[in-house]
C-alpha cells in the first residue's frame, strides 16, 4: 500500500521536494464532553514555507502539531501532505519522513552525537557509507566539527549544541516537512538568536515546509513566512508577519502582538535588505604603500580616522587608526576589535540591539562565509524604519 519509500540512493538532498501541508477542519477532544483542545482548525502551508503557530499556553499548539505526525490521533478532520492524507501511511513510516524537534531535544543519552544524527537514515535503510556521509554533512552544516563532536555523547555538549544536534537529527532523513515545538526556548537569548539565524540560513539552502511552535512573538515575526495566532483551540489570524503587525484581526491579536508593534516590525527586515555603508577595508599583509595610494586617491575613505583590517579570507580582524600604518611596510594582522560582527540575515531588531549593547558606532556585516559585506550604523537602520515596510 502507501508505504513511503526511502529516497532512492544517489538522490541528493536538494532534490527532495518540500511538501504542501493542509490541515482541514482538524479537531481534537481529549475527553468526550470536554472542551476541544484543537477546535476545527484549517490551514495551508505552501511548500517550503515556515508557518509559526503562536498563542497563549494551553491554546492547542502542541496538540495541533502532534496530530500532524500522528503522535495524537485527531477526533475529526484531516491532514494532507502533498495531497495525501497522513492516515494513508503507518505512523512510523510517516514519522520517518517528518523531521521532529522538541524543546527538551531528547537526544539518546547512550548514543554518540553521530549515532543520534544517523537514527532516521538507519531506520530508512540507507547504506553505511551514505549514512556516514550524511551525518558528517549535517554536523558541518550546524557548525559542529564531525571529527570532534561526532564521537561525543550528548552529556558532553552544551544546551545550545544539543539543540543543534537535535536539528541535525531531524534533518538527517531529508524530510519534506519539519515539525518544531519551541525548539529554541530552552537556551539563553544569545544562543537562541544564533540558532534562529543558523536555522534560517539552513532553510534558505534547503527549503523545507516547517511548522514551528513558538511562545515568543518576536521569534514568530522573525522566523515565520506566515504566523497563525491561536486562541482556545482556534486560529484567530493566519497571515504573513508584516500583515499581522500592521493589521491585527482583533483586540486579542493586537494585545498578543503587543504595544511596541513599530519596534517589532524591525524584525521584518534583515541587514541584507539594507543599503549598507561600504567598509574601508584593508587586507592584512597588504603593502602600506598601496594602502596609502588608495587613501590619497580617495578610493579608501577612513571612518573616524580608522580602517577595518580583514584577514586574507576577507573576515573582519580589527579596526585600526590610519596613523598606526606609519612606519610599517605591511598592514599588520592585528587581533583586535571588529565587534559587533553581524550575519547579513540578522534582523534589524537584533542588529540594533547588538550595536547598542556593544557601544560601537557600526556593526560589521558579513555573509555566510564570514566575509565583510559592509557596515551598518544607527543611520542605516533609521533610514530603513522611515521607509515604509513592504506591507501588503
Amino acid at each position: 500500500m502507501a508505504a513511503l519509500d526511502p529516497a532512492p540512493p544517489g538522490r541528493g538532498p536538494a532534490e527532495v521536494a518540500a511538501g504542501v501541508l493542509e490541515l482541514s477542519d482538524l479537531t481534537k477532544r481529549f475527553s468526550a464532553h470536554g472542551r476541544a483542545a484543537v477546535d476545527g482548525i484549517s490551514l495551508t502551508v505552501p511548500a517550503g514555507e515556515v508557518c509559526v503557530l503562536i498563542g497563549p499556553s494551553g491554546c492547542g499548539k502542541t496538540t495541533a502539531m502532534r496530530m500532524i505526525n500522528r503522535l495524537i490521533e485527531p477526533t475529526s478532520g484531516d491532514i494532507r501532505l502533498d495531497g495525501r492524507s497522513v492516515r494513508d501511511f503507518s505512523p512510523h513510516q510517516l514519522r520517518r519522513r517528518i523531521g521532529y524537534v522538541i524543546q527538551q531535544v531528547g537526544l539518546m543519552p547512550h548514543l554518540t552525537v553521530a549515532a543520534n544524527v544517523a537514527t532516521v537514515p538507519r531506520l530508512l535503510g540507507w547504506d553505511r557509507e551514505r549514512t556516514r556521509a550524511r551525518t558528517r554533512e549535517l554536523l558541518d552544516l550546524i557548525g559542529l566539527d564531525p571529527d570532534e563532536y561526532g564521537p561525543r555523547y550528548p552529556a558532553e555538549l552544551s544546551g545550545g549544541q544539543q539543540q543543534r544536534v537535535g536539528l541535525a537529527r531531524a534533518l538527517a532523513g531529508d524530510p519534506p516537512l519539519m515539525l518544531m515545538d519551541e525548539p529554541f526556548s530552552a537556551v539563553d537569548p544569545i544562543t537562541r538568536e544564533r540558532l534562529q539565524n543558523d536555522f534560517l540560513r539552513l532553510h534558505r539552502a534547503v527549503p523545507k515546509t516547517v511548522v514551528f511552535v513558538s511562545h515568543d512573538i518576536d521569534e514568530a515575526v522573525k522566523m515565520g513566512d506566515r504566523v497563525a495566532v491561536m486562541r482556545e483551540g482556534r486560529i484567530v489570524q493566519y497571515a504573513p508577519p508584516a500583515e499581522l503587525l500592521a493589521r491585527p484581526a482583533d483586540d486579542f491579536v493586537a494585545d498578543f502582538v503587543g504595544a511596541d508593534r513599530a519596534l517589532k516590525s524591525l524584525s521584518l527586515t534583515r541587514l541584507e535588505d539594507l543599503d549598507l555603508l561600504p567598509a574601508p577595508l584593508v587586507r592584512a599583509g597588504d603593502e602600506v604603500a598601496a594602502v596609502r595610494a588608495r587613501l590619497e586617491s580617495g578610493e579608501l575613505e577612513p571612518l573616524g580616522g580608522t580602517v577595518l583590517v580583514v584577514d586574507p579570507g576577507g573576515r573582519p580582524a580589527a579596526w585600526i587608526p590610519v596613523a598606526r600604518l606609519e612606519g610599517q611596510v605591511r598592514v599588520p594582522a592585528d587581533a583586535g576589535q571588529a565587534d559587533p560582527v553581524l550575519d547579513r540575515i540578522t534582523t534589524l531588531r537584533d542588529a540594533l540591539s547588538a550595536i547598542l549593547e556593544s557601544g560601537a558606532a557600526y556593526g560589521t556585516v558579513v555573509d555566510g562565509e564570514g566575509r565583510v559585506t559592509g557596515l551598518v550604523g544607527l543611520d542605516e537602520i533609521g533610514r530603513a524604519i522611515r521607509r515604509p515596510a513592504e506591507v501588503a
Partner: protein, 222 residues
C-alpha cells in the same frame, strides 16, 4: 589432627581437590540461578513496566517469595524436585526475582520523557523503542540488580548442603560443624572462599555496569 582453634594447613592441602570441586559447584549454582533469573525477570519487567497495578502485583509476589526462609523453601521443594541442586537453583531464582524485576523496571522507566517522545516521533516502532532505547538505558540498572542477587545467592547457596546440592556448604557444615567437635579449618575455608567469591562477582559485575555506561563516564552530568 590439630585441635579446635588452629588452622590445619595439612588438612587443607590433603583436601585440595574436594575444596576445588565444592567451589566450582557453588559457582555453578550461583551463575545458573542468576542467569535464569535474569532471563525470567526481564520479560516480566517489560510486561509490567507501564502498568502500576501489574508492577505492584509483580513486586508483591516476588517480595512474598523473598520472605520465605531459605531452608524452609528448599525443604518444600525437595518433595517436588528431589534431592540435589534443583531445589537450590529454583529457590535462588525465586529470591532473585524481587531485586531484578525492580531494578529492570526502574531502569526502563528512567528513560526521560523527551527521549521517548523524540524516538517515537522519529519513527521508531514500539519494539524499536524497547530494544534500541529502553533496554540499553536499563542495562546498567539490570546489572546492578544482578550484583545484589549474585552476592546474596553466594551466601544462601551454602545452605544447599542440607538438600544435597553440594557446594561450599559441604565444607562449612559437613566437614566443619556436623562433627562431634566442630572443625574450624573447614568452616573457615568455606566462609573465606564464599566471601572472596561474592567479592569477585561483585567487582566483575561492577566493571560490567561501568562498561555498559560509557556515556555516563564521559559525561559531566548524569
Amino acid at each position: 589432627m590439630a585441635r579446635g582453634n588452629e588452622i590445619d594447613w595439612d588438612w587443607l592441602q590433603r583436601n585440595q581437590d574436594d575444596i576445588q570441586t565444592y567451589t566450582l559447584q557453588h559457582l555453578r549454582i550461583v551463575a545458573i540461578a542468576v542467569g535464569v533469573a535474569v532471563v525470567i525477570a526481564i520479560p516480566i519487567a517489560v510486561a509490567v513496566r507501564r502498568s502500576r497495578v501489574a508492577y505492584a502485583g509483580a513486586l508483591v509476589t516476588s517480595d512474598l517469595l523473598y520472605t520465605i526462609p531459605s531452608l524452609a523453601l528448599f525443604a518444600i521443594l525437595v518433595p517436588v524436585l528431589g534431592i540435589g541442586d534443583m531445589p537450590v537453583l529454583i529457590g535462588l531464582v525465586a529470591y532473585s526475582m524481587l531485586v531484578l524485576i525492580r531494578n529492570t523496571v526502574v531502569g526502563l522507566r528512567s528513560v526521560p520523557r523527551a527521549v521517548h517522545e523524540a524516538a517515537t516521533g522519529m519513527g521508531l516502532t514500539r519494539r524499536q523503542v524497547l530494544f534500541k532505547v529502553e533496554l540499553p538505558l536499563a542495562l546498567p540498572s539490570i546489572v546492578a540488580g544482578m550484583r545484589v542477587a549474585a552476592v546474596s545467592a553466594v551466601g544462601i547457596a551454602t545452605i544447599g548442603v542440607f538438600v544435597g546440592a553440594g557446594g561450599l556448604g559441604e565444607l562449612i557444615y559437613n566437614d566443619g560443624i556436623n562433627r562431634s567437635s566442630p572443625f574450624l579449618t573447614a568452616v573457615l575455608a568455606g566462609a573465606v572462599i564464599a566471601f572472596v567469591m561474592a567479592l569477585l562477582i561483585d567487582l566483575l559485575l561492577l566493571g560490567l555496569e561501568r562498561l555498559l555506561k560509557p556515556w555516563a563516564r564521559a559525561g559531566r552530568r548524569a
